[in-house]
């Protein structure tokens, strides 16, 4: 599951020899952002099926490798044994329109992404305060002391286009 999440939002290896994370991008990815914590939270509705999905993913990886004559490191789960390019190609297949299991793989992708882009397993203000890698990389600014966002400056404050000539007095199209 770590390897799958890392394919959705890739990150750097946590330690030398980290096999689950391919190291395909700088900075933390979905895994560092908490994808596994999120998936293991029963609020998502995926928790009970994670082991089965992991087994299924490995079966798909083995089939994928066999079909391409790839030799996999038998010390690793088959999906983890694929390099990042092949992991990406397989995930693209599994999430493509028409794949019979597409919904499951899309849900996994959705929550992997949500761990990174919104830290859906944590209070957002806490995630930012703790340097959550996804929110930090996206440049999400911290809230005020009351954990609410406010932006005093919000407008260029001038007319920037002609309005449509047929606009009605209520501000609607004619």
């Amino acid at each position: 599951m770590e390897a799958y999440a890392d394919t959705i939002v890739p990150g750097e290896k946590r330690w030398p020899g980290d096999a689950a994370i391919a190291g395909a991008a700088d900075g933390g990815g979905a895994v560092a952002a908490g994808a596994i914590q999120l998936l293991e939270w029963d609020a998502t509705g995926l928790t009970e099926g994670l082991d089965d999905l992991a087994d299924l993913l490995n079966r798909h990886a083995r089939t994928y490798a066999d079909g391409r004559g790839l030799a996999l490191d038998t010390a690793l789960p088959p999906f983890v044994a694929l390099d990042f390019g092949h992991r990406t190609a397989l995930v693209a297949e599994l999430t493509a329109p028409g794949h019979p299991e597409k919904e499951f793989w899309v849900l996994l992708a959705l929550f992997s992404n949500m761990a990174y882009d919104s830290a859906a397993h944590m209070h957002t203000a806490d995630a930012i305060a703790q340097g959550h890698p996804g929110l930090a990389a996206m440049g999400v600014v911290p809230p005020g002391p009351d954990r609410l966002w406010r932006f005093d400056q919000h407008s260029y404050g001038r007319r920037l286009a002609r309005v449509h000539p047929d606009t009605t007095p209520s501000g609607s199209p004619a």
Binding site: T7, M114, L148, R150, Y156, L160, V163
Partner: protein, 549 residues
Amino acid sequence: MNSAEQTDVLVVGSGFGGAIAAYHLAAGGASVTVLERGPWLTAEDAEHDYKLGSSYTRGFDFTVGDGMSILGGNCVGGGSVVYFASMPRAPRFVFERRGSIGRRMWPAAVSRDTLEPWYDRVAEALPVTPQDWHDVTYAGGLWAAACDHAGRTANPLPVAIDTAACVNCNWMMAGCRFDAKRSLLLNYLPAAVAHGAVIRPLHEVQAISRTDGGGYRIRYHVIDDEDYRITTGSGAIDAKIVVLAAGAGATPVILQRSEAGLGPMPHAVGRYFSGNGERLNTAVVNEDRVAEVLGLSRGEGAPAYGANPIGRGPTVASWDRLDGSLPEYSRYSLEQLYFPPGLGTILAQAPDAGDGPTWFGRDKKRMLSRWNSWLTIFTMSEDDNEGVFGPPPATGNAMRISQQMLGRGNLRYEPTANTRHGWAASDAEVKDILERDGIARVRPWTNDVVGAYTVHPLASCRMGDDPATSALDDRNELRGHPGIFVTDGSAVPGALTVNPAMTIAAVAERAVPGIVRAARERGVAVRYGAPAPDGSTSGRRGVLPLIRT
């Protein structure tokens, strides 16, 4: 029959269609009960928090179908609590649309002109006000400037927002913490309650059947406050009149499930669903070119734009293609939009992705690092009412996957060439505007992940003059089932090319006198003629001459 509670009027859902009916009927003297499947959230509940279980997931539903996913409200106040409060009236040509049926979709009695007094009622009630350029956010301003640079016009949108109270936090999809957004929690619903209406949150209606006395029995489940997958009870209420306003993704499902108790439904129940022809494009802006080409500046030390998260949803739309002389399926509006993370990034495609995937992976991560420089443009076009609901799920309108927000529904949607034509034309126009002179790089959201998507579901139980292609008559009464009215977005016959809330609300306002008349015929002591929720009377003066007595 088991004993059940009694009410004159049972309203299903508390969004625009439900709240407006509930207010007028309660103010007119009827006993009114509103069953709402979602929670009752107030401003204090509106959190700035993406954590599952916050108001961001409590208040709305994301229902994945086969080819179409729907985002809709799931709380007291319905869509109005989670919407972006853009309230344009639908352009005149929309009411003349023929769509795929070879005849006018809307009833002959409904046109822009005949709906205008009802629009006025809504505008007074919420209220809806025009914005000026000082209200327009950086994102809206950037879109306006880009449109202007491309020789197009752009309009500040009319909104149901008190812009003086708005702090531009862009959290409005989780409810408004500051009560700046004029949701139904601030007007129709409290006024309905003041007149005696009872609103029951976390009550999910399952089915309707007939009673021996000529009325209807409505069966409901009570839903757990935190985990919507859990049912904590059930019950039934008898009513003389039913107003169905559960939203276009749920109203037809309730009626489908009710066939056992009501008899056959009109053919159009659960058919002709429209996603309002919606489509999104996300651009990644080149900050230097925004300054050089468009002359925009936020002041010393700030990027020229870099303001994706600042604002309040959409503030500016380009309406150059809302031209009734153009052929059907080629008319659309292009509206600047903000969509929060969580659901608002996954479908965006990296504009500069190479041969690899566009919606996940390395290129997508790079795109996310530029999130502050994103500009999202929302297309509302003319689709072909392609959506059809399959057999209803065991309960509710979807099989719930997560404790909140995420479910699997039975809507099937295969976009026709007409719909795809509108999307392609709008994609090309957005690209032409935003990639001109290097302002940005842009790409549409993918439809390959969860199908097409809509935040404005419509038409799944639509009104019309032709019984073969409409479920409701021109007074919103369900054909063959007198005393059941449908007043939500499912009653609107087709795509509107603009944000639909104003039109849904106006259609609901227009339906109320007929519902009052039907209630009176069933012995309910109720009159039509309430002022706006705050007591204002100009809207009422405009419509009273139109009402048959």
